[in-house]
Symmetry: C2
Subunit: 396 residues, 2 copies
C-alpha cells in the first residue's frame, strides 16, 4: 500500500525537544533539555486526597461523558479567579477548558487560519506552538526579541506587510525559550497595534505564576476592552502537566468556534483531572501553593546561576533569569552552536539548540536553552560543569 499524506504533514517534523527528550531518557545522560516542572512541585498528597474523595463519593460524575466546554464548577471558579487575581475576562468573554494549553494553540489556529494565512510570532518562540500553527499550513513571520520583548517597530512593519496576518502569538512572561519578560510599555504597544490593524493576540501564559524576582506585570488580556486577546492558561506548571488541563479565555464568538473544533478533536477534556484542578483551586490555599513553587524555583535557579557564573564566564552569556523554567545562553561567535550541542551530548549533557525555536531553523543562532526545573541540584551543577569545560576546550 502506498500512502499519500496531506500537504500539511509532509513538511511537519516531530518536535526536536520531544525527540531529544526521548534520547535524554538514557539515565546516564544529564538532561537540561526538558521543560518539565520539578517533581517536588506536584501537590501529590492533595491530588491523592481529592481523587480518593471523588472516586468514593461521585465516581460516575468523574467517569461519565461530559460537555465540551468543560466541567462547569471549574469554569465558574477559574473565571472568578482570573478576574479577581488578574483582571482577565470581560462580559463578552467566555472560558473553554482544553487538553493542555497546547490545545488552545491548535483550536485558535483551526478556527482562524486558512492555509497561507499568517501567524506573527516572537523569534525565538516555543516550538510546540510553532508546530501547531504550521500544522494548518499557516505561514510564520518572526519578530526578533529584545531584552524587553519583541521589537515593536518590526511588529508594526510586519502588520503593514502581512494583510493575511490573523494573530500575534506571544509569551509575555519568562518566554520559552528566551526567558525574556515583555515590559509594561511593550504590552500596551502590542495591544494598541493589534487593535489598530484588526489582528488578534494569542497570549500564552504558562509561566506567569512562577516569578522568582521582581514585580508581576499585568497580562495583555487585562487591558482588553475590545475582544482583541485570546488568553491561554494552564495547570501544567502549577499543578501537573500529566493531567493535560489548560484553558482559553476569549471573546464568545471565537470561543464558540473553538468549542465546535474541540468537539471533533476529543469531545471533552478528561473529567477526573478537571475535578482535581477545580477542587485544588477552591478547597486548598492555591496562592500559598504558588508561593511554595516560587520558592522551589528560586532555590533551583540560584544553584544554576551560581554555577554558570563560575563555569560559563567569560565565554557564555545568558539572559537574566527572573522566572519560568529556562535560561537562554549564548555562545561566542567563534563556536559553532550546533557542534557545541552535539559535543555536549557526547559528554552526556543534553541542551536544546536555539535554532529549533526559530520560525526558520536555518537562520544563524548562537544560543541554546537550559532547563533548571527538571534536573536535581546535583545534575544541574554537574551538567553546567561539563558545558563549562566543553566551551573552554572549544575556545582553545
Amino acid at each position: 500500500m502506498e500512502y499519500h499524506f496531506s500537504d500539511r504533514v509532509l513538511t511537519l517534523k516531530p518536535s526536536a525537544i520531544r525527540e531529544i527528550f526521548k534520547y535524554a531518557a538514557d539515565p546516564s545522560v544529564i538532561s537540561l533539555s526538558a521543560g518539565n516542572p520539578a517533581p517536588e512541585a506536584f501537590p501529590a498528597r492533595e491530588i491523592a486526597e481529592i481523587s480518593r474523595d471523588v472516586l468514593a463519593n461521585r465516581a460516575v460524575e468523574a467517569l461519565q461523558y461530559s460537555i465540551t466546554e468543560g466541567y462547569a464548577p471549574l469554569r465558574t471558579h477559574l473565571k472568578e479567579y482570573m478576574k479577581s487575581h488578574h483582571q482577565v475576562g470581560r462580559d463578552f468573554d467566555d472560558i473553554l477548558i482544553t487538553s493542555g494549553a497546547q490545545q488552545v494553540m491548535d483550536l485558535v489556529t483551526k478556527s482562524l487560519c486558512n492555509e497561507g494565512d499568517v501567524v506573527i510570532c516572537e523569534a525565538p518562540s516555543f516550538i510546540g506552538s510553532l508546530n501547531s500553527f504550521r500544522s494548518y499550513n499557516a505561514r510564520l513571520r518572526g519578530i526578533p526579541m529584545e531584552s524587553d520583548g519583541m521589537n515593536v517597530e518590526l511588529l508594526e512593519k510586519a502588520l503593514q506587510e502581512e494583510p493575511r496576518a490573523k494573530f500575534i502569538y506571544t509569551i509575555p512572561n519568562f518566554q520559552n525559550p528566551s526567558g525574556i519578560t515583555m515590559s509594561l510599555e511593550k504590552r500596551r504597544a502590542v495591544y494598541e497595534l493589534a487593535k489598530k490593524y484588526g489582528v488578534l493576540i494569542l497570549e500564552d501564559n504558562p509561566y506567569g505564576d512562577l516569578r522568582i524576582s521582581g514585580e508581576p506585570l499585568p497580562c495583555i488580556k487585562s487591558f482588553d476592552e475590545e475582544g482583541v486577546v485570546v488568553y491561554a492558561g494552564t495547570f501544567s506548571k502549577v499543578i501537573s502537566p500529566g493531567m493535560r488541563v489548560g484553558y482559553a479565555i476569549a471573546p464568545s464568538a471565537l470561543l464558540q468556534k473553538m468549542v465546535v473544533c474541540k468537539q471533533g478533536e476529543d469531545v471533552h477534556t478528561n473529567i477526573w483531572s478537571q475535578i482535581i484542578c477545580d477542587s485544588f483551586l477552591t478547597n486548598y490555599d492555591f496562592d500559598a501553593h504558588l508561593e511554595h513553587l516560587r520558592e522551589i524555583y528560586r532555590k533551583k535557579s540560584a544553584v544554576m546561576l551560581h554555577e554558570m557564573e563560575k563555569e560559563f564566564t567569560p565565554y557564555i552569556t545568558w539572559e537574566p533569569v527572573t522566572g519560568g523554567l529556562f535560561a537562554w545562553c549564548t555562545l561566542p561567535d567563534k563556536i559553532d552552536m550546533l557542534e557545541f550541542c552535539k559535543q555536549a551530548v557526547l559528554r552526556k549533557v543534553c541542551v536544546v539548540p536555539g535554532n529549533t525555536f526559530l520560525t526558520d531553523e536555518k537562520e544563524p543562532c548562537q544560543s541554546f536553552r537550559i532547563n533548571y526545573s527538571t534536573p536535581t541540584d546535583e545534575q544541574l551543577v554537574k551538567g553546567i560543569d561539563i558545558l563549562g569545560e566543553l566551551v573552554r576546550d572549544m575556545m582553545k
Copy 2:
C-alpha cells in the same frame, strides 16, 4: 473587533446530539438521546483502587509530562491483547494512545486529507466523526446502509467516481446510529475494494465488545496484511468515557504522521487515565468485566425491546438490536420525522432525529435513534410509552 474565521469553521455546527444532550440535562426530561454507557457499567471500585495505589506509590509518573505515543506499558499490553484476542496488528503496524477514539478520526483526517479530498462513509453514520472529517474541509460521500452493512456495489461506484477518496469510514459492529452489523462477506468485500482502489479503511470499533446476541465477527483489520486499515479502539464504552482514552493501530508510516499531529494538538493523553486502563487490562479479569457489561446491556435491551413491541407496533419499526447502545427506529411515511421528534421533546422525551447522521442533513429520513444504556429501566419504559402514545396520536 470584527472576527474573520477560517473557511473550515464557517459551516461547522455544534453536534446536534451534544446540543440535545444539554437540553436533556433538564431533570424532568427523559433523555433517550445520549450515547453514554450505563453508570453501573463503570468499574468504579477498581478504578479507585488503582488510582489510590498509583498516587501513593508513583505519583510523579502519573503527574509528569510523558511522550506523545502514549504510556509505554499500556501500548505494549494493548498490542498484545488486540493481537491475541482479535488478530489485530502486524509487524508493519504500530499503536498510538489518543484522547478518545474521536481523536483518531481527527488525526487520520489531518494526516491524509487536503481540502476537497473525499471521505467515504456509511449513511447514516456517527455525527461526531462526520464533523471531524468536515472540520478539515473533506467532502463526504455517503453509501447507503443495508441490513448487513453498506451497499458494496455503490461503494465500488463511489471508489470509481471519486479519485480523491482518501479513506472509507466504517463502524462494522452495532453501528452508530443504525445498530447494523456488517456481515463477514461484506467485511471481506470492503477490504478487497479498498485494496483494489488504493484507498484506506478507517475501522471504528467502539461497541465490538458489547455484543448481546449472536457470534462475534472478525475485525476488518484482522484481514490486513497490506497496511490498508487503521483500527480505532477506545476504553470509553468498556471502562469510562470521562477518561478519554482511545487508540489507533495503524501502519507505522501513517502512525508517525499522526503522532506529530497529536504533538501539536495536546502533547499527550492524560497519564493517570492511561495508567488506570493499563492496570485494569493487565491486573484484573478484563474478559470477565466485558461479560458483566454484556449482561447489563442484555437486560436493558430486553426491557427496551419488550416495551417497543408493546408500544411501537405496528407503526414504528426498528433494526434488530444485537449489541451496542442504540436502537434505530423508523416512522411510517405519513408522519413527519422532525415534527415527531419536536413533539416528543414537548412531551419531555428526547430522541435524536435520524437526518442528523446523514452526510447531507436535508435528505429525506424517517428514522430516529434511541439510546438504551443511559436511562434507568423506569425511564426507558416511560419514555417508550410516551413515544408510543405520540405516534398513535399522530396517526389519528
